[in-house]
Symmetry: C2
Subunit: 358 residues, 2 copies
Amino acid sequence: MTNFTGEVRIVGAGLLGTSIGLALTKQGIDVAIASKSPKSVDIAISYGAGRAVREDDSPKLIVVCVPPQLTAQIVAEELIAFPDAIVTDVASVKAGILEELERLAAPTDRYVGSHPMAGRERGGAIAGRADLFVGRPWVITPNSKSSPAGIKVVAELAQALEASVITVSPKDHDRAVALVSHVPQLVSSLLAARLVDANQADVNLAGQGLRDTTRIAASDPELWVQILEANSAEVKRVLESLELDLGNVIDALANVDSEAGIAQLRKALRDGNAGVEKIPGKHGTKHSTYAQIIVMIDDQPGELARLLTEVGEIGINLEELKLEHSPSAQIGLVELYVVPSAESALIADLQERGWRIA
Amino acid sequence: MTNFTGEVRIVGAGLLGTSIGLALTKQGIDVAIASKSPKSVDIAISYGAGRAVREDDSPKLIVVCVPPQLTAQIVAEELIAFPDAIVTDVASVKAGILEELERLAAPTDRYVGSHPMAGRERGGAIAGRADLFVGRPWVITPNSKSSPAGIKVVAELAQALEASVITVSPKDHDRAVALVSHVPQLVSSLLAARLVDANQADVNLAGQGLRDTTRIAASDPELWVQILEANSAEVKRVLESLELDLGNVIDALANVDSEAGIAQLRKALRDGNAGVEKIPGKHGTKHSTYAQIIVMIDDQPGELARLLTEVGEIGINLEELKLEHSPSAQIGLVELYVVPSAESALIADLQERGWRIA
């Protein structure tokens, strides 16, 4: 499964550090876990994420898994303490860390930044799991001095964790995540914040659209303050464009009696269509790529299983599945997504078996 | 199932008109379908949504299911053509329609507005289905002159369609949907529009957060232009508050070196948390109310069914379920949501049966 060999040192025993340790230890790799929090180290070690550090440790690779604000300082310390090791980190913003390392005159030839795009709603060693990175993107951000050997070792780490490696520069990384992650976070938070002073009766009319657009507004503010601080320039740039567009839409709403106002609204909605079309992947393309079949089932144990058993018997692979409960009735709406060529046969077979297809 | 009796006339044979006709016809109610499009009427009738209109029709209730822009005019015509009938409509904005009816001096004592909060990504008679309204909110918006008998008939219609009736004034309705539906739509469109001019390589780093926040940006621009036009004042009011908050966040991003800037960012994120907490329902509360268990399954037919069969055998009801495919590996991640008291037993049972729990 992996070409990775040699000793690994993990600094920081939170969700990411513990998860990396669990996955590597499972593969027989020697992992030492260091942290300023002895309690987190205890939990991580008792979970099987590695062993305590020793005087004679000689890591080939060091993975710094501390909060974004502390990352550059700890990376610099590790580069000095272990002059033969490659050092990577897992912070979600990259250019500022590199700048700080350069300012500290750290030997950046042995530093290769990482951003594993995986997480959980819960943090801490206790939430760690060996499978956290499986199939997720792992962005590697070499700097201009990074040694080829160092880049190779970090890529091997990501591969050992079964992640998908993407390599970009720190600046390109930060520009991209501002757009696809940091701005969506802030926009979702701003949208949800509009509910705070609203009548509860108004909010009670919420449908799935509001739920989807505000889901990530439930994220941890303290972590996000650090991320936004570290990528403030790129995030600000995107938000300023958004602010212009928002101003145009507000103007258009004040001018819905004019053709220009209507045209402006139409443009905003069409541009939104065009933007969604650019998002890749199974989820991003489901509206156009997969056929949706809605099946109504009783809201009780075993019903969904019975449905999916029969879908399995019919021999059709589900590309996606979503279960929605009716807010009031004892009914579940199961959305099955299949390749379009399978749609009509599946509907016919399910109806023949007595399922209620919407 | 229903107290509803008497003849129903449906004007407009699109998704909503056809779906209402299908559901009522199933219950043995006499439904006449009128539309300016003979082709749509043909489809709706051949689907079983009702019959063609007759000279001697004498409807007790008329449901106007035409595009928002045409609704007031058609409602007024129907009120005059059928002086004994109650008339409702299904447009997603209500106050403007009432104003126009008053301007036309229509007999609004026999008019009671409706907004069934149900839809599909596809429109037209062909997409109609009898179950469209089951368990969904159906907002009834009586005006000051609406007769109690008229309100009762429209509520009985919604109940006959197995929808959940919510009664509010037209103005309250429009204020609420501006907040929970129309503004989220525009914000999602504006966010997705930022992707249009971006590098495809940047967009390729998109994760689930971007997908969730931009899902509804794929909606039909022509329908939404009409909705936004009809509710422009309320939508504008919410967007202006959002614009202020956005301006504050942009200022904060320019001042991340100051404590005030950081405090402002933290406030925006915390307000987002507080807003999400106000959203009711299973989906809105899943982060706090339900325990999440992630199971990894092979991405092949029958695996999910086998898992859910075993969950059914264990006897635990799923509150929600989500299937995610890894973008690269042949692995599916199944998120099971259960009541917290069931979590540890389910994990133990599933592990005993050999499932990989994350």
